[in-house]
């Protein structure tokens, strides 16, 4: 049996009625939190307490609760997805905290990710970046070629796959001092740039996606590397170098 304990914590949670309201940190005491519960389960417990007290529950995004949907964004104690590494908030457990701890919970902060309510931000900017070029066009004429018919070098296949594990959570943006989306865009550019199927649209893809990211209000990249450290999927900075290479080549020829 693991040492399942109950801890008492103090939470400082960002509360904001709507996009236009001025928000503030509210302090809540929460007792008897099992160290085996996930951070989201702890938030559920807080919300139950708030509802029982007649207050309004804290709004937060979540869906899969197993680290694949990328929606559970919370800036916890000064880091995206909290203190553990290679994890999302739903994969963070309360055993990462001690009895008596004060825990700050804030939404992602970026001009391009406006707060909708409490901890929920609008991440549709990522969708628009994807729509600007994060795809491969195919004719669905009924005789589509089998993708596996094209040989792909193992290293490239692996790197493309690694890039494709990006779940679009936005932790990279949240961690970056410039709220830059470089790691996200680089992952989306790389997953195609490394594959033969991605070559046809490669130039337009990198030009349009990078342009869209800037248009959305994400900042420039200072190469601090904070994104790579905080990314739940360990997306590598080498993708950003690849994106910069691709962008340079594309803008010189297109």
């Amino acid at each position: 049996m693991s040492a399942d304990k109950a801890i008492n914590i103090t939470l400082k949670v960002w509360r904001q009625k709507n996009a236009d309201a001025k928000g503030a940190l509210e302090t809540y005491k929460l007792d008897g939190v099992s160290t085996s519960s996930s951070f989201l389960e702890m938030m559920d417990q807080l919300n139950e307490q708030l509802i029982n007290e007649g207050g309004s529950p804290v709004q937060f995004d979540h869906d899969c609760r197993e680290g694949i949907c990328g929606s559970c964004n919370m800036y916890i104690n000064g880091q995206p997805h909290g203190p553990a590494s290679l994890n999302t908030t739903c994969q963070l457990h309360m055993r990462s905290f001690k009895d008596g701890d004060t825990i700050y919970v804030e939404p992602w902060r970026a001009k391009a990710f406006p707060v909708i309510k409490d901890l929920v931000v609008d991440r549709s900017a990522f969708d628009r970046i994807q729509q600007a070029g994060g795809f491969v066009s195919v004719n669905t004429s009924g005789n589509t070629q089998d993708a596996n018919a094209i040989p792909i070098e193992k290293d490239n296949a692996d790197m493309a796959f690694d890039a494709a594990t990006c779940i679009g959570c936005g932790a990279c943006v949240a961690a970056c001092k410039n709220a830059s989306a470089s790691l996200f865009v680089a992952a989306k550019v790389s997953q195609y740039a490394l594959l033969p199927q991605g070559q046809v649209e490669a130039k337009d893809r990198v030009l349009n996606m990078v342009k869209q990211a800037q248009k959305e209000g994400f900042g420039p990249c200072s190469n601090t590397g904070a994104c790579e450290v905080e990314c739940p999927k360990g997306i590598s900075l080498e993708n950003i170098a690849r994106m910069n290479r691709e962008y340079l080549a594309a803008s010189l020829s297109k």
């Binding site: 001009k111 410039n178 830059s180 990249c221 190469n223 080498e238 170098a241 340079l248």
Partner: protein
Amino acid sequence: MSEAKGLIKSHTVKKYWMGATGLFLCLFLVGHLAGNLQLFLDGYEGRLQFNEYAVFMTTNPAVKILSYVTYFSILFHAVDGLVITINNRKARPEGYAYSKPSANSLWSSRNMGILGTVIFVYILVHMQNFWYEYKFGETPYMMSEDGQSPMLLDGSSVNGGMIENGEVVKAGESLGPAMRDLYAIVIESFQEPILVAFYVLGMIAIAFHLIHGFQSGFQSLGLKNRKYGPMIDKLGYAFAIVVPLLFAVIPVYLFLVK
């Protein structure tokens, strides 16, 4: 046309310029350091060699072109850096109540603008100290070893010559500009402990700037990858420590020994 406009305005392109000018300035540092290390040479020979080097640096046409590229790089790098820093801030109008950036990044990587500003002030003071003094100040003149004759730019001494308005004059006839004694100004300047401390501080700023900047320049230009990336990181670290350290040792040595 609209594409070209997008190119100038692109964050990515601004970072290409940042990386290219920054790495060019790293090359410049190596050249500058090689010149400065001549200050360790002793005696009259050392003084003469350093002053001849100063003549070379101010008269050689290739060096002239290179020096304009350097001035341009510094100014462009500073202005581009300012614009980038403003854009960096704009992307997060509302900050976090509690943030722990030290958990995921180096201090120097987050403070390149501040470090750059310190370096910029350092460069201005440095230019005033030596470049301005050498060109327009009351610089002493280099004399032959016996201290009797003035010298021409090519290092030849003129027996019985006089210096008038910066020219070597003999028998009422000007033979050309007189060699100045930059070595003497350097030695004299670094008898001032505050200036020595200021130079050391400037070099510390450069060291921190380059601990992040060297590899960052390669990353911005897309020149890092799995194979060479780790090597560039190590080289950058070594460069960021060794080059500013050697620069900083010079004023300290001159203060203590001369």
